[in-house]
Symmetry: D2
Subunit: 287 residues, 4 copies
């Protein structure tokens, strides 16, 4: 029984390769996490278990896909970054984005019990995620994307920290707190936190203020005499690429809560922009 | 701290709405399931637990997304069908496909233990799936797509059934079996099965021969006097659409193992092509 | 001197094939024709020479591209229609649209002097056109597109006829005429035309009221006993396609000014929707 | 008569904006110029009139679209380059490419008689062009694209010069000449030209060997102390953009036949990569 009569339907699949030599960012977002976080009683303003679970899933995605050079997570979203030279799945957009989303989901569901020891998952309330792929032509554009997410993290966290202090500690209703915060700037919120609740926002945990940065760890470069890394690599042979892939797999994937807006982060970790594996640290604990 | 300086990066997201008035098929495929099925010792040629788990995940996806009108699964792949009138997520391709893939993955991981009671999942060998969305302009094209998958199911299952009989019952090496089957047609394989192993292929389970068809159940139409349903609907108001969505949510989602190539399946279930909910059966057991 | 070092740049070209089995409409629009029509002193509200030149260019495009089944023009725009079975340039969008636009432009420039005998072209004021390709999945969608353009033609022509009567015959300023017409409906404009200027809009030329329909001429079908043509053709062999292409080239391309909203036009010319060449009229004058 | 019933068809137009911050190259190609050049008896291996006409059309396109920073032509093709910061038509691909193609065609047809004084155009043999838009993320990629075209120019011109010398001066048949040239390298062809026909390829006209480079002329920079221009501009206000547009319109558009592979061309004309208008030369002849 030949299948040739129907095979013409394959002709309706449309190619979706992402433009070569561009940074590819896959952003994964929780679906309906507002409702879900109520259902599983996430703590406010931040639930450490939920963030640790997000980070765990992200680390596993990074390990599974050595082509990834960087990831950044905040709240129920995670951005995964592929290098301009990446040729994974011939850069087919749907294949790349679904692979990241599915791997992330699998680990999130699987590891839920490790972090939420007292509140097991119960269908139909299973967490799931959507995602999209966006390309950025220059390293400047990529860094501005990362800065955008980290500034957003700061803005939202300051707001949420203040809002929930007013509600949970100050006994205000949600509506009243929202009303009072309308139109306030950062200094106003810092003031409210400090005056009314004795909270110095600077002392909040870095994971809440900065979000989570995930990357492969090599020996940090000193800043001096370091020229900026370039993503415009000489073309490398398939063999060399495979070799570099293996080197990348050996590196430890770490989670950091640091500033990624200023140059320092990037200058000291030139392997992120150059995609050339650095020197493995002398002693490395495999996570 | 305003975020406006970096917000320009949002301008790099490119719209990806699927062409209106076309059938949308999202096909989900297991990633590396060859290796995975070895790792968890799936039975050959078919592992009933694995298929039941696929079907369970598919049913949950259908329940979660009432816009879906049909799904068809075979082996480690599942095709989900949205109607031409579907406006879910403004038809954004990445959003649609990642939502289906993530929801499917979540349920597959969550329900694994129910079906594989003796072989728990063990990272890093977590199942994951990729996916793609394809649009089909006419109902003929959609039905040909479905036929293509079901013919493929038949071809592969006949081959696998014969191959594994030769290996597991006939004691042949994989290579020898492969060699002997090269160039054979269906009747040859039926012959090998019957003569050497006393297997009548027709008596194999329908789930293996036909795959699994998932849809919402209403009262079947009798064939007589039934004009073919058309997908070219009159535009309906938002209110009506919402009403129909709710009606669809009430219908039971069933798993069937039947022929979807011939007209009969479609004639008796006109609600699939028309997207107008039918009459609920008198007694309906909620699955 | 090998060119291989640079050839990688070809990899940046992205495929743009239009979805198979859909109607393809290429709409060509005059660039800056408002200014241009002032410069060459086009007559108001309609310049017959300009319309005839548009029609001439459209007929030549139809002759040059036998894959075209229909065209519709109004003012400085023209819509060209390719059949769902069309495989021209493997349906590559940019190739199709630029070919239509360039061929149209070439004939428009070349034939200018034939129609504008007293006002030769003078650079840099050369007419040019932009264009876009849109796909429509069903014949209903295509016909609604054509109806949309023809209704637009009617609305604009009634407005312009009234406006210019008020200005040119009534001596009103542009602003005053515009002001008075604001918020009026069709019957108001008919009334103004008739009462003030003795113009019965129904007696205006069909080319102004209906626009121009261009197609290949075969013997008209009688309406009786005619089932509606379907665009969902059986696949035909390359040889047959080539034969039909040649048949289409033999047919005369005609310009008509008729209603294309009602069924009659389509019922009597079933070859447009079916793409099967009809019977050549007994006597045919080659235009 | 409202048009709202049909207006839904506008929803089928799909957005096609090109990725921001990328170089946009629109390449225009003659349609069926092999046949056309026979028909109008173009001289071999190069017809100066045809090239001058191509260049004339290209210069007019550059003048009409001040967003263009560079163009390169060879034979019957022309590549037009928009800067990464270009926002023309909101970067809509079809709009950009059809505008370039149509403007080019209009001038090519209009100016034909100026260059081909003895062989007027005769329908249906009107020249026309197709086109496509390709985006390049980095200046390296753009320069490699330009190098690719210029190397191609050299390879083809050396081949054609040799081939037509063998045929026209050597009295060989086309087939024999083709046969003999199969597998030859550059030095072989130089040798044939010199030994048999006394032609020193180096003395051929630059327009044939290098093709034609079109750009706006400002005072050339000296090479010393010049840092490489960057395309990664600070965002500029709308007002500034409009001002720069006007400055660009003032510059003379020149046609050059020079090497664009090496750095020198780019170093001395930094305004091409930077898109910042340079200093107008003291005396400027308007072309």
């Amino acid at each position: 029984m030949a299948n040739s009569k129907y095979e013409y339907v394959k002709g309706f699949e449309q190619p979706d390769a992402l433009l070569p030599n561009t940074w590819v960012v896959v952003r994964v977002d929780g679906r309906g996490f507002h409702k879900l976080s109520d259902h599983y009683a996430f703590q406010k303003p931040n639930d450490r278990r939920a963030l640790d679970l997000m980070n765990k899933a992200a680390v596993e995605v990074m390990k599974d896909l050595p082509d990834l050079v960087l990831a950044y997570g905040v709240s129920d979203e995670y951005s995964f970054v592929f290098h301009p030279t990446c040729e994974l799945f011939e850069r087919r957009s749907a294949k790349i984005v679904t692979t990241v989303v599915s791997t992330f989901t699998a680990h999130y569901i699987y590891h839920w019990n490790t972090f939420f020891t007292e509140t097991p998952l119960k269908p139909p309330f299973l967490p799931s995620f959507d995602g999209r792929a966006v390309t950025y032509p220059s390293t400047r554009n990529l860094r501005d994307y990362m800065s955008w997410r980290q500034v957003d993290c700061h803005i939202n966290n300051l707001y949420n920290t203040t809002f929930w202090a007013m509600v949970l500690k100050g006994g205000m209703s949600n509506t009243d707190a929202e009303q009072e915060l309308k139109g306030t700037v950062s200094s106003d919120k810092n003031e409210i936190l400090f005056r009314r609740f004795g909270i110095n926002y600077n002392n909040e945990l870095e994971i809440y203020k900065k979000g989570s940065v995930v990357y492969r760890q090599y020996e940090l470069e000193t800043k001096e005499g370091k020229e900026a890394a370039s993503s415009d690599l000489e073309p490398v042979s398939k063999t060399q690429q495979e070799k570099m892939r293996k080197l990348r797999k050996k590196a430890q994937v770490v989670v950091d809560h640091v500033d990624i807006i200023k140059d320092d982060f990037w200058d000291r970790r030139p392997w992120i922009v150059s995609n050339k594996p650095g020197k493995l640290p002398v002693s490395q604990d495999i996570s």
